[in-house]
Each structure stands twice: as C-alpha cells, then as structure tokens.
Symmetry: C2
C-alpha cells in the first residue's frame, strides 16, 4: 500500500537526516505527521474519485463517468501534489522566520530566554536548582540554545525542504493511482450498472485492506485495525452514497437529455 510505503520511506529519510536518536525513536517521531498525511492523501485519492464516479454513474453513461473521473483525477492529484509541496515550502519558511526571531531573542534578551528555559522544565516539576546546569550549558553555545528553543519551546521540527518536491510527487502519484482503480470497471464494461457494482467491490476491498494495514502500521492491535478498516470503508460508502444521491436527485429534477445537448 502506497501510504504505508510512504510512511516507511519517510521514516528512513528521517533516520538518515537526523543525526541523533536510535531508529526506534525516530520511527516514532516520523509517524505522527506522516500517518496523518498518508491517511488523508490516500483516503482522498481512493474515496473522492470513487464517490464522484459512483455519483455520475447515475446518469447512465460510462463515458460521462470516465470524463468526470479523469477530470477529477488530474485536478485532484495536481492540486494535492502541488498543495503538499507548497505546504512543505511554507512550513520551511515559517520555521526560518521563527528561528531568526528566536535567535534575536537569545541575543537581545538572554535573561528572558533563560527564564523561558527554566519555565519549560518547571512544566515537568523540575526546580530551577535542578535545571540550572542545563541552562548554563545552553548559555555557553548560542546555536545549541536556539536549537533547543526551537525544539522544546516552539516544538517546531526543522523541515526537510529538499523533501518538498518528493512529498508533492508522492502525494500526486498516490492520489492518481488510488483514484484510477475505482474507474477501471467503467473502462471495461459498457453497462454502467455492472461497472458501478464492480467499482464498489474493488474500492471496498482496497479500503478495507488499506484501513487494516494503516492501523497496523500506526501500531494498533489487530482488533483496532479491523475497526479502522470498517471506518475507512464507511467513509467511502457515505461519500459515494451522498454523491450518488445528489446527482440522481438533481438529475431526476431536470431532464437528463435536455442537459446533455
């Protein structure tokens, strides 16, 4: 499954790029964000084109379904990929801005910053007497102090800008192929209804497997994974049902032949 693949690849990237920390640590660190991206990205890629084509199938024309589906695939994968790329770039910019600001604070009002370090540790019930050593250590090295503030005060992870393109491409490709799968039956069958049911079958299967693998990858137990698979399937069903209903409803209100002139 692409999402979990992405997950592991990115974990490896994190491992390579972060100097410190044992694999198991970094794997954890990499998860949180990527799990989210992978789930939203792939679930969309699979669900939206499926639901859209299901909705359009109520018009009774396989070709219309294919045209609408292709329009969605290109629109979706491009905006998804470019969106992810731009988001990564914006994040990097944001980090840069905050880092400059933090460095200025360390330079211009070190006492206030010193206090902030003490406050960070006080959140964990550590008295100033106990954290004094760390504070002294940070004061001795401005770069390390700034890095510490970025990590522990602002909790901003240094973005891997060189990854922005790759992230964008991965997201676009995942979305495109995820979205292509539910459309295949409409290429294969002349009969839209047959195509629709085959498409539902294919998508349901993938959604279940995806939901299951997804949950396992995030470290859930099998029972939770099954529940997650069911949930993922429900998302697809609800989205497709709503889409089918609205198209059929609007369409029966209007005469379809009048529309397609």
């Amino acid at each position: 499954m692409s999402p979990s693949k992405t997950l592991w690849e990115s974990t490896d990237r994190t491992l390579k790029e972060k100097e410190a920390g044992s694999p198991h640590k970094e794997k954890h660190a990499a998860h949180g964000e990527l799990v989210r991206d992978a789930i939203i990205g792939f679930a969309d890629g699979l669900t939206v084109p499926f639901a859209l084509t299901a909705g359009l199938s109520s018009l009774g024309s396989a070709k219309l379904v294919i045209l609408g589906g292709l329009a969605e695939l290109f629109a979706g994968s491009l905006s998804m990929g470019l969106g992810a790329y731009l988001a990564a770039v914006t994040e990097a910019k944001h980090y840069e801005v905050e880092e400059l600001r933090e460095r200025a604070e360390v330079k211009e009002k070190p006492l206030a910053e010193e206090d902030e370090v003490y406050e960070i540790f006080e959140q964990y019930g550590i008295e100033r007497a106990q954290s004094k050593g760390v504070v002294e250590g940070l004061k001795a090295n401005e770069d390390m102090w700034v890095r510490f503030m970025m990590d522990f005060e602002l909790k901003l992870e240094k973005p891997r800008t060189k990854m922005a393109w790759i992230e964008g491409i991965v997201m676009a490709v995942t979305y495109f192929f995820g979205g292509l799968l539910p459309m295949i039956p409409y290429f294969a069958f002349k009969n839209v209804t047959h195509a629709l049911f085959t498409s539902i079958g294919i998508t349901a299967l993938i959604l279940v497997v995806f939901g299951y693998v997804k949950a396992l990858v995030t470290g859930c137990r099998h029972i939770d994974a099954v529940w997650s698979a069911v949930q993922t399937l429900l998302v697809g069903a609800v989205a497709a049902g709503a889409s089918y209903g609205i198209v059929r409803g609007v369409n029966s209100a209007e005469n379809v032949t009048a529309m397609t002139g």
Copy 2:
C-alpha cells in the same frame, strides 16, 4: 478566509487546553501543523471543484458541470472531513500506544531511559554533569518523566481527541463552501463559456487573496506573501488546465452525443 480563521480558532483552543506556556509560545506551536492542514484542506476545496468544473465545461453543458461539481463537492467534503476525523482519532490511538510503551520502559528499564534523557541533552552539547539535576528531577516523578519522554524523545504532541469531530466538521465545511464558490457562475449563466470565465475570475481572485493572507498568517513578509499568492494561483491554473485539456481531448476523440446517450 476560513483557513486563517481555523488557524486562529485552533490556536485559541491550544491556548485554552495547554496548561503551560505563554500565548506567543503556544501560537507558534499550534501553527506548524495547522498551517499545513489549512493550506491543503482549503486549497483542495477551492482548486479541485474549480478545476473539475472547468474541465467538464468543455462538454458545453452547464447542467453537466453542475452535476459533476455537486458530485465532487459532496464526495470531497465528506471524505475530507471524515478523513480528517479518522486521522485525528488514529493519531490519538497512536499516542496512547506509545505512551503505554514509554511508561513500561520507564518502569522496567529505568537505567536505559535515564541514559536516553542524558542523550537528549547531549544533542545540545550539554554534558551529563550539567543535565544530572534534570534527570534526578524526572526520576522523582514517573508521570512527569513519561510526559518528558513523549515530548522530548518521541516529540509526539498529546492529541486533543475531543477536537477530532470539530476538526472534521471544519474541514468538511471549509471544503464544501470553498468548492461552491467556483460553481456559482454555472448556476447563474446559461452560456457555459461565460460561466467558465466568470468562474476563473472568481477563483483566481480568491486564490490570490487566500495565498496572500495565508502567507501573512504564517509570519512571512509581504513580498513572500505576494509570491505565495502567485504560487497558489498557479496551482489552480495548472490543475484546471490539465483537467480541461484531458476532458476536451478524450471528448473530441469520442463523439460527445454518442457518450451522453
């Protein structure tokens, strides 16, 4: 603009829910993740339905555009919202699993965990002699020690599960209304070409404003904000162009009237 609004609301949520830290700190902390979500979410909501409807407009029927657009709006906003909700729930689950594991490690091999704390500080050039006080402080309180490891070793932020529903709803609503805007002209004009150009105008305007506000909210300077606005506009243009091109291409290959029978 909904995304920046979402951004601030969520920031306020974070402020309310996190016991420690000054407003400016938490604002920072909240940004990173939310910026990304807001950008991807809203950009998609606006871009995909716009690009899809632009693509379908090449078929020459406003009604087809509206049907395809509505199918996409419902499919997109539902899968987006439910996807975001499930992602939040999965994250919470993931956090829970990791926390249990961390607590077990603290209980069962405290010396190894102690070492990991020292290693964290060594990453910032702080010697063991200097960080000893903090380590002793953590050892005195298991809960705090586990929280410290979650924050500074795994760098996992405690998910706000009660927010999962709200996040999902916000995302779905944002997507829906973002996607509705480019469709309005197709309701208004009988002539698809007029509708298309009006839709392009409306979307371009919103994308530019959105891109600009977005960049300012993330703390960029005006010049960067302008550049960001241009980028956001380009995404929309590329996606719509590709969608229009593919539909027109496939459509001219096939006879449209044959298709819509």
